[in-house]
Amino acid sequence: MPTKPDETGAQANAEDVDLAQRCQRGEEDAQRSFVHRFGALAYSVCRRSGLGGADCDDVSQQIMLDAFRALPAYRGRSRLSTWVYSLALRRVADHFRAPQRREVPLGSPGDDSVPVSQVRSEALAPDEQAIKCDEDRRVARAVARLPEPERGVVLAYYLGELSVLEIARIFKIPEGTVKTRLHRGRRLLRNELGES
């Protein structure tokens, strides 16, 4: 029998609370696991928000440090990934709000100079890997061109892997609106990718 979603969520949260507590106790394995599990999320949020190069490295590393320092405040009310994602959104917004950094940083996601995912499935042949990389780059560019209400929701759902309810809470919109924006965002992406 499949597990009920709320049971799965509660179980995931219990595991997250355990990880947070082990990190706080200074267990090296837990800290490594924390950085490994959520580092890519923090880094990807920065990249998809238009940060490139050293800025992306700095802000994403700072997000991880802030998240680690804030772990004692984590109570397991949401998944740790949701928690890190929300924190990452706030830190990226702070970064762009800072007066000396109002300009759009070099290396937008649509740039060919910006490398996409650096780690790929090792089982793929080099030519298949190249095709996948190209496809991923096209998709990332298309997402970067989505209009804002849809873009934020699409990123939160597919990159942050947040649930509709979690997105609704973060963006303070009804769940129905989240679904409408997801649906519209997907349609726009399909149109864009179909045309190119």
């Binding site: 499949p2 597990t3 979603p5 799965t8 969520g9 990190c23 706080q24 106790r25 200074g26 800290q31 490594r32 950085v35 490994h36 580092g39 890519a40 999320l41 880094y43 990807s44 990249r47 998809r48 490295d57 994403s60 590393q61 991880m64 440090l65 680690f68 320092r69 804030a70 772990l71 004692p72 405040a73 996409v116 995912s117 650096q118 780690v119 996948k132 496809e135 991923d136 780059r137 998709v139 990332a140 997402v143 699409v154 990123l155 759902y157 597919y158 990159l159 892997e161 649930s163 509709v164 989240v178 679904k179 997801l182 649906h183 997907r186 992406l189 399909r190």
Partner: protein
């Protein structure tokens, strides 16, 4: 189930888990798909998008990035200050425990003996350097006393 209801549920967690092969398609949706070609197509399109978008949007930082973060992490997260009421509860509990121990082990029944035992227990609770596992276990069990 109507087609609108079906399309509305495409973004729910159990359906996302089904896209990824982590669970079965919810039975009512599976039976609807058998009768409705367009919803079947919508399901497969959503599953394709889930696969493509989660892969394309996620970037993995370099090992150097990981190394830099791990190097900058403090050894431990700062521990939140405990609420004062918890500290008082704990020292009271340890004091009472010390009185009981002095009663049983030393056969001490004088008022001065109680005061000394209580003070020693409370002081031990306040001054102990770290929270070790046995202490945590004892605290947990004391909660129910």
């Amino acid at each position: 189930m109507t087609c609108n209801h079906f399309l509305d549920r495409l973004y729910d967690d159990p359906v996302r888990a089904a896209f990824r092969g982590e669970s079965a398609v919810p039975p009512d949706m599976a039976s609807h798909m058998l009768d409705c070609r367009s919803c079947q197509a919508a399901y497969h399109a959503a599953a394709d998008d889930d696969r493509l978008l989660t892969r394309a949007l996620r970037e993995v930082p370099s090992p150097a990035w990981h190394g830099a973060v791990l190097k900058r992490l403090p050894l431990r997260s700062p521990v939140l200050r405990r609420p004062w009421i918890a500290t008082i509860n704990e020292s009271l509990a340890w004091g009472v425990l010390a009185i009981a121990a002095s009663n049983v082990l030393l056969n001490e029944h004088s008022a001065i003996g109680y005061v000394v035992a209580f003070s020693t227990g409370s002081a031990a609770a306040l001054l102990r350097p770290t929270r070790t596992k046995p202490v945590l276990l004892l605290r947990r069990s004391l909660r129910w006393v």
